[in-house]
Amino acid sequence: MSTYPLRAEWTKFTTLRSLWTTPLVAVALSAGITAAVQFAYGRTDTSLTEDPMEGLYFGLNFGQVAVVCLGILLIGQEYASGTLAGSLAAVPDRARFYRGKLLLGAALGLAVGLLTVAGQLAATAATVGLDLTAPGTWRALAAGVLYHPLLLVLCLALTTVLRNQTAALGLLSPLIFLGTTALTAIPGVREIAQFLPDRAGLYATRLHDAPDVHYGHGTGLLLMTLWTAIAAAAGQYALHRHDA
């Protein structure tokens, strides 16, 4: 090994407070909101209990915004502050540099996913209880964990395509937080919007089948993986093609 891109990326992450606090916010939001909602409404609100994952993952709707932000910030702050030139001077092989970013993003996402799902699971078990033997439960929990690194890498890659932190924050965070949910509420658009990455990924975290979704739970996660892979390739192309 000549240069150590992953080591450099990890050090960038630990030396900037706005970076290392974001995953903590994600875990706290997801687990905290799930705990609060399950405690307050878990036993009474049927929309939360009909599919038990609806209640368990309630906090994820909010916590995922922090995951989106972390994905954007990991590379976006390099564009915003101008440190990208220094980063590429240190690691001139752009593919190596980019792999370091993606790898750190995936690892952080996985850590956040594990902690988030563990927290949400504990909160749900302590309040309304959860039948771990019900079919699909473990699949839904695993999908919940994997949803995080996929979403994080997706946002990191799309920011690399946009090459602009502000544009990425302005575009991606409202889209993930409100947009795709709103789109699925429109009857005609729903047919197409259900194939969007976060919709597909979240479908994999549910126990019950939805009648108007055209794919299975496992396929949902696969669809999100495919989106992420395409975005990662597009990011690599953009980074390779443009002057830094």
Binding site: Y4, R7, G82, A89, P92, D243, A244
Partner: protein, 302 residues
Amino acid sequence: MIEIRDLTKAYGERRAVDGLSFRVAAGRVTGFLGPNGAGKSTTLRTVLGLDRPTAGEALIDGLPYQRLTEPLRRVGALLNAQAVHGGRTATGHLRWIAASHHLPARRIDEVLALVGLTDAAHRRIRTFSLGMRQRLGIAAALLGDPAALLLDEPVNGLDAEGIRWIRTLLRRLADEGRAVLVSSHLMAEMAQTADHLVVIGRGRLLADTSTAAFLTEHGRRRTRVRAVDPAALTALLAETHPAAVPLGDGGYDVPDADPGELGALAASRRVALVELSVTHDSLEEAFMRMTADTVEYRAVTA
């Protein structure tokens, strides 16, 4: 050694760098001069592989930057002192750069001491003045103990003490056998620092010469004379040196005149002199004259 060969960088129709070739030799400070917009920064960015050249190449010890295995041990660069994240501390900023090359933590303390930032090591960069950021940028460039240094306008934002410090530092780095390339749009500054000058305008090479040779070639020699009786001197020069320029206080600047001959002439005509000295055009004037045609943006006097 850094070698730039027939380098061209075009942005659409506009050529920021146009067929530029020069070398940066080890053991001396090479001043890279040109008016703003002449293509200095673009050239440096191309050397670092940040901008892809339209044609030609930039080589470090015979290799393009992207092919260097541990680039920071070969080339240290300061392109833009403001391109740092204000949220990191000085140490934090240097730590990620060191991590990319597995450089020891001790090295961070060394370079911070070298640039005089030891006391500010744990302060966030957003509280730094431009001068402190320049010092931090130089620390970052020196982190890998590189054989070559590229510094883009490093004296910007430095006070008089800082400028003197950087001059001494550049001298020392060159004396240690490193190749040092320093860009600037200030000729006078470079005249005091650089051994060798590369001057460009509109992306083209205008001069590639030693500082002394540049001065001899472009700094016109003038002989300054002053007499006890100014009227006698005026009469004498009107006859023998019509190109003499009056200085207003009775003295004259006589271009391209030999002081010995001028003194002898004055003595033969019984004109008593109180001053007879040789001056050169300043480098700044030579630089202005040379680049006058290539200045990109000029204020138009209506």
